[in-house]
Amino acid sequence: MLTRISTYFYRRPNLSLALLLGLPLLYMFVVYLGSLFALLLNSFYYLEEFTGLVVREFTLRTYVTVFSPTNLGIFGRTAGMAAAVTIADALIAFPLAYYIAKFASRRARTWLYIAVTVPLWSSYLVRVYSWKLILAKEGILSWFINLFHMNFLLDWLLSLPEIGGSSLSLSPIGMFIAFCYIWLPYMIVPIQTALERVPKSLIEASGDLGASASQTFRKVILPLAYPGVIAGSIFTFSLTLGDFIVPQSLGNSRFFIGQAVYSHQGTSGNIPLAAALTMGPVVIMIIYLLLARKTGAFDAL
C-alpha cells in the first residue's frame, strides 16, 4: 500500500512539489505577506481624533503627519544613531574578525566563531538589561571611572546637549554603548567571512613585491574586507533603526522611530500612524540595500 502511494507521487513530481511547498508557502503568504499588506493598507487609513476610532477609507493625511517636524526630528535622530553605531561597530569588530580569519588556529577559530555567534542569536533582552546594571549611576562603570579619577570627563560628557543626560543609563550616550554591544556580533561575522576569502597568495605576493606589512594591510586587506563591513552595516543599521527596547530602557524622553511606532499603536491605538511611520525604516532600508548591492556586499553574507 505504502509502496503504491509512494510510486504514485514519484510519478507526479509536480504534485509532490506542490505538497511539499504548499504548507510553508501558504503560511508565509497568508500570515507574513498578508500582514505586510495589512500594514501598507493601514498606513492609508486615519484615526478620527474625536472618536478615537480608525476610519477605514483611503487618505494620505496620515502620511502628511509623518512629515511633521516632530517626526522628521525622530527620523533624523534615529538615523544618526544608526550611523554612529554602525561606524563604531565596524571599528570594534575589525580586530577580532581579522584575528579569527587570518591568525587563529583551526580549533581556536571554531571556538571563537561560536563565542561570537552565541550572543548573536540569544538573550537579546537580557543583554540590554546588563547595561542597565553597568551604566547605573551607582553601578560598576561609575565605580571604575571614580577609581581613575575621571569623573570630570563623565560629567562633561553628560553635560553635552543632545547626547547627555542625568546619568549614563538615561542618556543617548548610554543607548549608543548598548546598541554597539547588542549588534556587534552582526558586524564581526560578515567581516570575518570576507577576510577568510582573501587568498593567502595575494598577501604573499604583496609582500614579495616589497610592500611593508602596513602597506599590505591598507592596500590589499582593507579594500577586500570592505564588502564585509558593508554587509555587517546592513544589520547594524537596520536593527538600530527599528529597535525600541534600548531607547525605552536607557534613553530619555526624546523618541526614536521604534518608540514612536510602539507608543502610537499602544496608548492611542493609532495604528495608521504607527504603520505609516514604519514605512520610514522600510524605505530607508530598501535604499540602503540597493546601494549596498553595488559594492558586492551580498556575497559576504
Binding site: 505504502l2 512539489l17 495589512a38
Partner: protein
C-alpha cells in the same frame, strides 16, 4: 582553505584588540551572573554590598514568574515544532526541484529576520486588528513561527546540499519506497540539522520580545515580564536572577546548535 596555520603571528596590538572585543562581548554577561547574588534590593550599586543566594528562592516562589515561564516555554515549543515541519518541507522542495520563483522563496523566508522586528510586529498587529482577531496565545505563536521557519530552513537546506544524492537513489534502486527512504536514509542524515535548527528556533522564540509586544494581548511571556522591569524596575533582585536564568536557557541550545553545525562543516572539510 585559507590560513589553516599562519606562518606569521598576529602582532601584539591586534591580539590585544581582539581580546578587548571578546571581553566587551562577555564581561556584561558575567556582570549579570554577579548581580544575581547581590544583597542590594534598591539599587545596582557596585561593589556589591554583600552576597546571598536568597533571591533564587524568592524567584522560585513567585507565581507570576512561573506562569510567564510556562507560557514562554509552551509558545517556544509550539513555534519550534511548526517551524521544524514548515522549514523542512520548504527546504526539501527547494533542494529537489527547480521551479519558477525558487529564489523568491528563500527571500520570502528570510524577510522576517532581515527586516527590523518592529516591521514584522506592527504588520502582524495591523493584520490582527483589521481582521478583529482577539489577541491570544495563538497570535503569539503565529508571530514567532514566521521568524523561526527560516533558521530550520537554512540548517536543513545546507545539510541537504551536503548529502549525497546517490544515497537516496541507491535506496530507491534497492526497492525502498519514498517513506522507507525518508525514514532510513534522509532522516538520519538531516537529524542533527533538525536538532540544530530546532534549538536555534527555540532560543529565538524563548527570548523574543519585539514581535511579542505587538501580538500579545494580556499574556505575559517571560521577556515581556523582563521588559516591564526594564522600564519600571520594581523587583530588581528577582529580575537579576531571571536574567541569569534566561542567559543559561538560551545560551546552551545555541551553543550546541553552533557546535553541531561547526562539526558538520568540519567533517565536510576533511573529505
Amino acid at each position: 582553505m585559507p590560513s589553516k596555520y599562519s606562518a606569521e603571528k598576529a602582532s601584539l596590538g591586534l591580539r590585544l584588540g581582539a581580546l578587548g572585543t571578546l571581553l566587551f562581548l562577555y564581561v556584561p554577561i558575567l556582570i549579570i551572573f554577579l548581580y544575581a547574588f547581590t544583597t542590594d534590593e534598591k539599587t545596582f550599586s557596585f561593589p556589591l554590598p554583600g552576597l546571598t543566594t536568597k533571591w533564587f528562592g524568592v524567584a522560585l516562589g513567585r507565581a507570576d514568574l512561573w506562569s510567564a515561564l510556562t507560557l514562554s516555554l509552551q509558545i517556544a515549543l509550539i513555534a519550534t515544532a511548526s517551524a521544524l515541519i514548515l522549514g523542512t518541507l520548504a527546504a526539501a522542495a527547494v533542494y529537489r526541484s527547480n521551479f519558477f520563483g525558487k529564489d523568491a522563496i528563500s527571500l520570502l523566508l528570510i524577510l522576517p529576520i532581515a527586516l527590523p522586528g518592529i516591521v514584522t510586529g506592527i504588520a502582524l498587529r495591523s493584520a490582527i486588528g483589521s481582521l478583529d482577531i482577539p489577541f491570544s496565545y495563538w497570535t503569539i505563536v503565529i508571530g514567532h513561527a514566521t521568524f523561526c521557519i527560516v533558521v530550520v530552513y537554512n540548517n536543513v537546506l545546507a545539510r541537504f546540499r551536503r548529502m549525497q544524492g546517490s544515497q537516496v537513489e541507491a535506496s530507491m534502486d534497492l526497492g525502498a519506497n519514498s517513506f522507507q527512504t525518508f525514514r532510513y536514509v534522509v532522516l538520519p542524515n538531516i537529524a542533527t540539522a533538525l536538532l540544530a535548527g530546532g534549538m536555534l528556533a527555540f532560543a529565538l522564540s524563548f527570548d523574543e520580545v519585539i514581535v511579542t509586544t505587538f501580538t500579545a494581548g494580556q499574556q505575559t511571556t517571560l521577556p515581556i515580564w523582563i521588559f516591564s522591569q526594564l522600564t519600571r524596575p520594581r523587583d530588581r533582585p528577582v529580575t537579576n536572577v531571571v536574567a541569569m536564568f534566561v542567559i543559561l536557557i538560551t545560551f546552551l541550545p545555541i551553543f550546541f546548535a553552533q557546535k553541531i553545525s561547526a562539526e558538520a562543516s568540519d567533517t565536510e572539510g576533511d573529505k
